[in-house]
Symmetry: C2
Subunit: 710 residues, 2 copies
Amino acid sequence: MSAPRTPDFQPSFHTQHAPFGAFASFSIGLVGSPGGFGQSLRGAGHQNVYVGYRTGDAPDALWQMLPFFRPPQSNEGAFTGADPGNSVAPTGFTMLEPSAYERTLGWASDTWRAGSGRFGFSLLSPFAPIADPARMSRAAARFALAPVVTGWIEFDNRTGKTPVELMFGIGELDRLQRPVADAGLDLPGFAVGPDFGYATARSAAVGQRLGFDVFAPKFRDYRGLHVIGGESALTFKVPAGQKKRFPLVLAFFQGAAVTTGISAGYAYAQFFENLEDVLAHGLANRARYESIAARRDRELASSGLDADQQFLLAQAAHSYLGSTQLLWHKGKPLWVVNEGEYRMMNTFDLTVDHLFWELKWTPWAVRNALDLFVDRYSYTDKILAGGKSVPGGLSFTHDMGVMNHFTPDGHSSYECDHLHGCFSHMTMEQLLNWVLCAVTYAEKTGDVKWLRKRKAILLACAESIHRRDNPNPALRDGIMKHDSARCGTDGSEITTYDSLDVSLGQARNNLYLSVKTLGAWILLERAFKHLGLHEDSADARATADLLARTIATKFEADTQSFPAVFEKGNRSRIIPAVEGFVYPLYLGIKEATARDGRFAELLDLLSKHLCGILKPGICLDGKSGGWKMSSTSTNTWFSKIAIAQHVIRSLFPEAMTEAARAADRVHADWQRRPGCGEHAMCDQINSETGIVCGSRYYPRGVTTILWLLK
Amino acid sequence: MSAPRTPDFQPSFHTQHAPFGAFASFSIGLVGSPGGFGQSLRGAGHQNVYVGYRTGDAPDALWQMLPFFRPPQSNEGAFTGADPGNSVAPTGFTMLEPSAYERTLGWASDTWRAGSGRFGFSLLSPFAPIADPARMSRAAARFALAPVVTGWIEFDNRTGKTPVELMFGIGELDRLQRPVADAGLDLPGFAVGPDFGYATARSAAVGQRLGFDVFAPKFRDYRGLHVIGGESALTFKVPAGQKKRFPLVLAFFQGAAVTTGISAGYAYAQFFENLEDVLAHGLANRARYESIAARRDRELASSGLDADQQFLLAQAAHSYLGSTQLLWHKGKPLWVVNEGEYRMMNTFDLTVDHLFWELKWTPWAVRNALDLFVDRYSYTDKILAGGKSVPGGLSFTHDMGVMNHFTPDGHSSYECDHLHGCFSHMTMEQLLNWVLCAVTYAEKTGDVKWLRKRKAILLACAESIHRRDNPNPALRDGIMKHDSARCGTDGSEITTYDSLDVSLGQARNNLYLSVKTLGAWILLERAFKHLGLHEDSADARATADLLARTIATKFEADTQSFPAVFEKGNRSRIIPAVEGFVYPLYLGIKEATARDGRFAELLDLLSKHLCGILKPGICLDGKSGGWKMSSTSTNTWFSKIAIAQHVIRSLFPEAMTEAARAADRVHADWQRRPGCGEHAMCDQINSETGIVCGSRYYPRGVTTILWLLK
């Protein structure tokens, strides 16, 4: 989708161009900024990226460059002993203004056009359904798991009178570069150590530059390069009268174990020997990769979504891929999605949101994470009831570790004790997340065999949810009211909305969490039935009914809306009141979502709630018009907006006013401006300013895939 | 050696604390600056280093910290969605002024004292003779090659009335940290991925901190840590009335192949399983490491050198170790010294200067490099004579690659074609370097077997030197006058003094290179004799005599000195005129160095030359008093000064005026000030300002070991 462009608003944002499962990205797009290759980073890389062309073959013909580098002070001075102050930055180029080029971000592609469309440069991030890597053939695994990004650079010089030269390259002064050919791969291209690099196909039209200055290489060795230079580029000649497109392959490779706690390496390292193997593979298979990317682009273009929505899906898909990490441990795949800038591993709050995306492309990944949550990241706690510590039940950790480190059994990297806000435990939230993920996975894929294997876990989860309502069955109303003893007597549980205000942060007596609990019971009823556990199914159904009635009693007649927390006179208004309905909605459990069905009363109240709050000044920001998760916080989360939008469009269309609908443009513009765009897809955004306030470089925007469901 | 301290001059310099052969350093010392762990970097790392103590156990007792960190803006805000502008930097500490602590750099230790000497912190970089790793026992290899730095932190609280707490830690927000224990090593400590970390011994006195703020940890998980925080520290309690010293171990580990071109990993990875293995080993063997470090310190302290000279040796040894890299390739050791900030591998100009150091500690390393120069980095060129290209002969490349990349056979990373200055070929210089290293190695170690194996190479070298004088034997005068055809018809060879002015840069008709050639012939005469090649020995002797006579004819009667270049009326004055005599001097070839011996005439002229130029305004800088390699360049190189000083003290003591001797203080102060000290040992220095202008973080200062020769 071309972003809308006005003289006042030129889109400027990084996009992560990432292979599947390599926790690696090639980031570019932010105007005036470097980016490039990054492995396990918390944001874009810092390499200059050289993409451009020049017309005419005179030595002084100026290069027309996309603005993705900062002209480096030449490193030459470090060798010649020159005063660094006298070091001369490269010349011989023009940095194109954003108005001089057009950028089109597709679901699986990112294309720049300049020179009246004659110059083109594109990077592709194809994605497709991937079979379970545990049972893949080697050929299939090489294709699906290759840590490669393909692309192309072209020029249509059919009407040109002079030759044109194209350039693609990077600058990396900290680590330098080497010719790809030096590691035995006879292709033009350059790499940084054994770790990442790029190449193109052999051709007489291709030139190689490596030195202090890609625009005017001053020092050339026997093959025209200077290996100490740190700046590299491929050049491509397009004769007058011809149109030529040249392939590009960008690859990553880490062959050794990269994680600690659990020591594991990348799955792709099982199927590729080294970086050169990946580069050669990428080049040989580029047509297949391109055709998949083109298919994804067509699907999004024909989705019926508007341009802003399409942009949001496209940007989200790119950042998600950059956070994915498929490891290999003891002969089996080990799935991780890293949490953007935080790099926490398989944060369960994200797993449950990535669910809809992953069930479409990689359903085995959901199961893989759920199994590891059971096998290593579960625990049985006590809860605090009436001042006493009594048995609680099973739950799961917030995450599995951080930045390539798996934390010890039963413990996350995030959760701390004795707290009431951020960094407290999320016992109830993660308990619901396991149930919701497990049942949704099993129902959607039909993998009843797996669900049966996990029957005891599911039963323990149901009991654990019950006990957090009240250890005494007679006193239950369905709502979580007892904090895990892990918090200590001087702490309390939080929800995934940790950094919002108390309206969403507190777990106990929380509207959002209560409706999510309702969603869990609806799914448990279904799952227990399929497992032949009729008594448990009936209990789940009864609990759901009880809980729905209880929630309904919290409706404020005077304001015609729900308070965010059923305590202390809280009167915050929150959109995620309806988030819990996304699961039965997704699974098509009509009797639970029908407005005239068993939850008719609650759904009607929620409709009133939504109609009342989706207004400027309440949950539409008074300044920007963007959606606010909570009326009392300017911190809003895009991925959660996307879920809410899907639920509201499907179940509460009456709440979708013109103002609410108009916010798509606002949300897209947030991401297209440097305030977010510096960090690719962002999630936590200040709803007044549109500037990111957390969750940068973030994978969770793929909740937008819900928008494609009819 | 304690650096001299005045109110106006507080020493401020980084020192590299480095294991042998790991191409890794823990750098600290620059006032107000981070440093910390660095692997294959071109300068100090960027981690905060927390070293200090606090008296009293009140929570608000201020930490007294060495100034090796910049108070980080807490990373907490990224999680809590807070405005980064409101992020609060840690408090609860005082950054010690340099006047409040004393630093003592030993040959193998670096110790800080504060609190009237009661607080102490020390890092040790022991070095000792190391046997050939190809024939080491596993136990010996583990001890000699462990990528570990040991140290200690202590407090003498015997007169104290309150407990004291000590701290050692680092901050690494880009990569975060994890408890060492999570990878199965039951020690207090923290690591960054599988790559580097630190630990101490188990003790009830030891505490661990990991989070956003080591001074006031706000968030604590079940074990009191917060794994997402990125800042870590160990704390140590010293009760009132006691003196306690706690051990520290700092370790590095890279298990996979790290180089390309030749794909090789570290030798230590053959003998250690992982980082934890290294940490445990370091702790278990710390007493042995400490005793070696103490022995080295004592040797230097009792050397008779003055405090400034001792400082220079100590700082040099540390930076040399940080550049060493012992690889393992196809079952054999592969020796590399990286060239400081440039990271060129086995730059031959450095190999020949490291010779004196390495023949003392690791003579096999010299042979290892010489063999690889023959087997992979040699070539046979043509030379340009009378406008024609005629056969030249054998020579060697300037280096073997750069930044962990081995360049292809017969080519360096540095040398380019068609140039007259920096980056041109150094064919003659490297040819001499091979001869000088090979013969010095064989003569010093008595490894005649190896020399015999390389007899053909030695003969080819002699012939190659001859031909670069003149292809026609009848026209030879001993001086190199023909450039390698590798330079092209529009280029010419340079010397290792590439970035100085033409007085040292040009190879042809160069005084420095001519005397170095003389050194080579003197050594060849000796070597050929030992190989029974009497005719060749006689030829070498005759050539040396011829060359000495020729050089003598270049003496300028009017100025009583030699011109730097015997061309174009050059009248630069250079100190390295005598560098070539260091080899016969080192080998004790008295007949070649005796002032009344066969080269008496030349030595007398050189004496006049030196006496004339070692004066302020000529080769002593008029402003600083430091030695200038060339009268016409302010770029001077410390490592080369050190060689010249040794030769002049030994052979030309009459030139060692008071002013020339006083420069030791100048040279030491250059390195002790931030102008050089920011980059640990520096080599290329502006002689007026004392500020580095190239060759930062540089290994070559170990030429100072010559000063220990009696």
